[in-house]
Symmetry: D3
Subunit: 295 residues, 6 copies
């Protein structure tokens, strides 16, 4: 009984947070370890279902991960690189799309349904959700010149038609979105999932964008996990990049945050997806975890 | 962090229960110690607010308690008894109604609003919610004859117009109902709160009726609190009364349960209101607490 | 038959007025003699029911009157005065609230229901309708200094959440509102009923505020009831106060009118509540009665 | 002022009737003197507007009257008779329809709009409201044989599509309906207005059918206007016809009433349209006027 | 089968046009030969029904044509002229209204219903759709002076209350509107149908105004039907009138177009109503037919 | 112009069919040659878009076709057979699902969007649309015994939750459904597409089920394509199977039809998908094509 009472008091302590986020839309970029480790998978998707039941509107945008590489290997597809970048040719894109939309997306949907939520999976092609144009990358050639490389079917989102996502939310489902977009001729484009999540958050007028990563957050001293920066303001970002404190793969993530903030999202969060229930911890505790980037 | 994780896991474990009761209406008869002790008060009403936020529709029907007696004393009103029953004359009824509707009801409403819910208080007069006829009681006279005693403005509910309660629920409020009814000539009637809760639960088509009492529940052996009967079926009630296991003040409570069940309520619960968060414990744990009476 | 025909023609003559006020919200401050005299009571509330049936939205805000004094006397509560003002201590406030909310409000509700309308009673605590802060009064001490007196639980409205009133109106009920407000800590505050009515009228975007008083209206010559000012413009009020033509208890009433007009109410009316059906007479005749204050 | 008070009391006395008929649909067959005399016209249509404003749903079905005859004369159309019945040939029907739909109907609509209501005129062709088949009449030839006479474009209603009427009602308008119907080939049929009103009342699930006539009602002694039968039950009708107390033009009117009652209309009324405001008198007085035929 | 395939391909080719006009409102001024020739009648109204089924909202405003003259002759009404203009006296207006509203309008309604659409006919009096003031015309007297002639009941629209038309559209009907308006005293006014169509198109926020005429469109060389101007911009109109290329009866039609464009209509079309299905040809082919006047 | 007129007349002739099917739901099983040949693909999906625009609700359930075999070959997956049946092991199922959901489904969606419709792709996992249990097949062993063979992840639909499909329809999209179902443990099951279409049609209360095949329909004489049976009644099916006129792959298709009819679908159609626009030809011509199976 004592234990039961403690449990009750935990629920009670969650009340102010439940109240605070009631009716709010939260876009979750789901990727990294949290997509591989079975316990973490279960934890993230349970968090989403719980959020839905206590009145929030979670939206999941997932990445690809190792399954794409695995499938490419199975079909004997070798990757070609230009200036260090993998070229997504038509055959690669076909595999990428099948794995993202036909495998990963549906596994997430099924898992949510089994946990007790109701999910609907969407590709960026459904209802023309993500329309894209070809993305070009400047690369440095071995002889030191800058060239614009054709890296194939990698796209930039030119337009978000979020209508179908809103419908799915309002009808009580959790939308699960694969980062595939459609070009003007109907061709498929691979889209960076962080970026897709940020654009979708802005289009939906979401309250929060949450990006699950495989690091603690943004660190003041990259060798000290305890030096995590809890709150980062938009106007501090540029100088942190200059100082090299934000670098590498973190730069595009932070840029997705700043873009989302510019698009009207209220707060954005870079969380450590390796911690189970990191989203709940962020939402339901005062101190939060990871780094919050805000205006 | 560890503690935070444990807390997250408690929330996660609550999910199946949240799902189970999503959208269900639960009428709570609120009385006894839980109305007197400040911590218990806070706990019961917090439970109600939490229920509302996780998608249930709690409805509170409260009793009177010691404040009525206190106010009667303050105005120097002496109680008259007939055959052991207190007579509710017009002057007493006036005080009863003022305390129930003007004091207790509004205190509950205010406390819910402070906790973070949104409450609206109703008397049985509002929207003609409870219409009543005079109740007569058979009493045994000192010389052994049975007489019908006039015990004044005590009523039996003749009709429940639950429209205003449904409106208040659907608009996102928690209704808080005082057990006062109105007679055909507009006079006020005092109504037993257990009975009012049961009738309202039936009229609303509620899923559950929860009666907070000052005992553990129904006991198989009244001297052994551990002998609590967890589940009682409708058809066992009569024999338990005959055996004297259900007696005294418990009889009308059990009758409210059986009436509510007959009126279409799914399950009814007699809980120990002296345990903090007893309602949460009943709803959010497998074993439950107290005694559940069901069909 | 002849008499019936005359009656029909009266109904027909009412048509232009019914049309004019169709769908309009009218807040009625109900107090004074009209709350004491049984015929006047019946007349005022019948007017409200009739207004509802012919398409208007009447809202009643009632005062307290002699019943509060009576109950204070019954509990042996002596009034303390500071600088001529009655101090509303916690015990007094408790009695005030019980009488206003638990007795007077419910009597009005019941009477409306008996006449054939459908009423719901609300306190300023329900749905946090009236939120208040403590009011301080400057008083002159016997030795001629100005002091700020603590007159207890008397409040100024800091915020009106009129949502629950609108819901009740739209669902076809007549809201009956007691002038009790709630403070930040949940404490009760007594609010002047004229003032509460004016603030509520502004919050609802009402078309009219009607204040029932015990005088004919505002008189050009206070000794001549025939000198009533039928229409008063906002910009004439200040000079009339200066000339002393508006003085005493009439000043706060006129100020409620000017505040309501500033808050967007279309017209405000100070009517003689001692005349039966004074509201109907104002609404359904060309000349109107009492004094109309307008922009 | 005294007069104003009397007027107020008339309004107050109307309240129980307003309440009683709130939300009810009343189909009014408008014809006879009430369509010719200017004061009566104004009175009938004002009654309809008043009914609309106090929450009823009046529907007007009008007849033709002397204007049809006038127009036929103007175009030099002579009437042909077969067995005493006027033959409605194609040319006659054209005139009948133009006068009913293009003149009388629009005059009623305009008058209602001027009085302050909002009216929409409909022919039985609009939305295929009245579909009809040719009506044949048995006539006795001069030499005593029974023959089926072709009386031209006179129709029996085969189907009522009342959708457009309901739409117009629900959008706040008073529908004004001309008794013209459409045949399977698109041809126009003249329909008896009493009969059209009865069929429409049944199709709408109306509460009342009111037929305005040029007599006091149904008389027990036809020479004594005071012998009016106030209430007539369905099962008494046959014997009154047999006794000859109901005869001539009253027979089809009573049959429309009995048909409407069979179709689910609650009560039907034969009123004296020569009395101004006869509809108001029926609705808003206890004794009523004319003859009520009911189940 | 081959023929069936060709037919299928025609449907398929219509798809882009169906898509383009989906949900758009198109006001059609229906007059001239298209109202007289039976095949053309059938074609125009079939076009309207087809438009409705493929998602457009056609609204028909019809003219009068030879039937008015015919009926005036039948009643022996001689026309009086002032300065070359026919005077519409009260008697003439009565006939005009009866023919327009009671005959032509209902014939169109009936035909649409027979084709398989659902139509409701409206006069400008219904719901006060067209309110008008008297129109005065300057005329030159025989002795060369300018005079303002009273040409009787000819009106200019002072206000369009298009509410009833929108209701009828939204409920799935095709509104058919007769160009009769109502004056302040309830008198009828005859309104030019082109002008009524233009005003209604603006009030409805229509996408298109289509005027059916008895010419090919606007010609660059009036003797060469092949010189039709396909697209005319608003700012070219004045100079074409000056050059005399737009003259006579075409001037008011073009003015209706420019007024409608000023009122917010997207494009306006002057089509040759003598060509069967001219509206379909305009809507469903790339080149269109007739002259389009646009901003 | 002449050609344009002919085209207009084709549209006009389509009107009765458009009217007939307005608002009706038609489930199309899309498979065979019509999924391979580019012109046929375009034709089928254009038909669906056209159906949507003219007011029908098409729903597409697609099969897999040669792309599954192609991908299995690419990953070097060899098929194992038991008693002549291909065993769908976990690895095969993974490929099947990726191709169906991640490739074919999204290609159809994209093509529809490019044609001008709005499509949303769904797997049977989305919203738990198709729930399945494992299917067992009786097979004859080489030594002549009957055995129940485990053919792996091939399922029978145990429950259809068509809610998400209805939502997508009502919001104006064309749902495109892949025949993959989900088991109780979240595993994927391959479902026969004809069967999925039939079950979905019944669950949606569809008006029609259309199965596109690679034959003319059901033939009375299998060697004579001209012997096609246009209309087949439910009660004739059994004898045709017995006579061997319905055999082979046609048997399960006809069974899907009879199941759908039993489930409430109005008519079912077996069409030759090799004929372009076969669906339009069936819907928009009197004689229809292929074989209609009906009650």
């Amino acid at each position: 009984m004592l234990k039961a009472l403690e449990r009750a008091s935990v629920l009670v302590e969650a009340l102010p947070y439940i109240k605070k986020f009631y009716g709010k839309t939260v876009v979750i970029k789901y990727g990294g370890h949290a997509m591989i480790n079975p316990e973490l998978k279960e934890a993230v998707l349970t968090d989403a279902v719980l959020m839905k039941y206590v009145g929030m509107n979670p939206v999941i945008v997932h990445g690809g991960g190792p399954e794409i590489t695995g499938m490419l290997k199975r079909v004997g597809k070798e990757s070609r690189f230009v200036g260090g970048l993998r070229v997504t040719d038509a055959e690669t894109m076909e595999i990428v799309e099948m794995v993202l939309v036909g495998k990963i997306n549906k596994e997430i949907v099924t898992r949510i349904n089994r946990i007790g939520g109701r999910a609907v999976g969407l590709s960026g092609k459904d209802g023309d959700l993500f329309q894209a144009v070809k993305k070009y990358r400047k690369v440095r050639t071995p002889d030191g010149r800058d060239e614009v490389a054709d890296i194939g079917f990698v796209g930039d989102i030119s337009r978000v038609n979020s209508g179908i996502v809103s419908i799915v939310i309002n009808e009580g489902y959790i939308p699960v979105v694969a980062p595939v977009a459609v070009g003007a001729e109907g061709q498929s484009y691979n889209i960076n999932a962080d970026y897709a999540a940020g654009r979708l958050a802005a289009a939906l007028g979401a309250d929060k964008l949450v990006i699950l990563t495989d690091v603690e957050g943004i660190l003041a001293d990259r060798n000290d996990p305890a030096s995590i920066i809890s709150v980062l303001h938009l106007n501090e970002v540029a100088s942190l990049i200059e100082q090299g404190k934000i670098d590498g793969g973190m730069i595009p993530k932070v840029e997705c945050c700043t873009d989302a903030l510019a698009g009207g999202v209220n707060t954005t969060h870079i969380l450590d997806g390796r911690v189970p229930h990191s989203i709940l911890l962020e939402l339901f505790t005062d101190q939060g975890i990871g780094t919050m980037v805000q205006k």
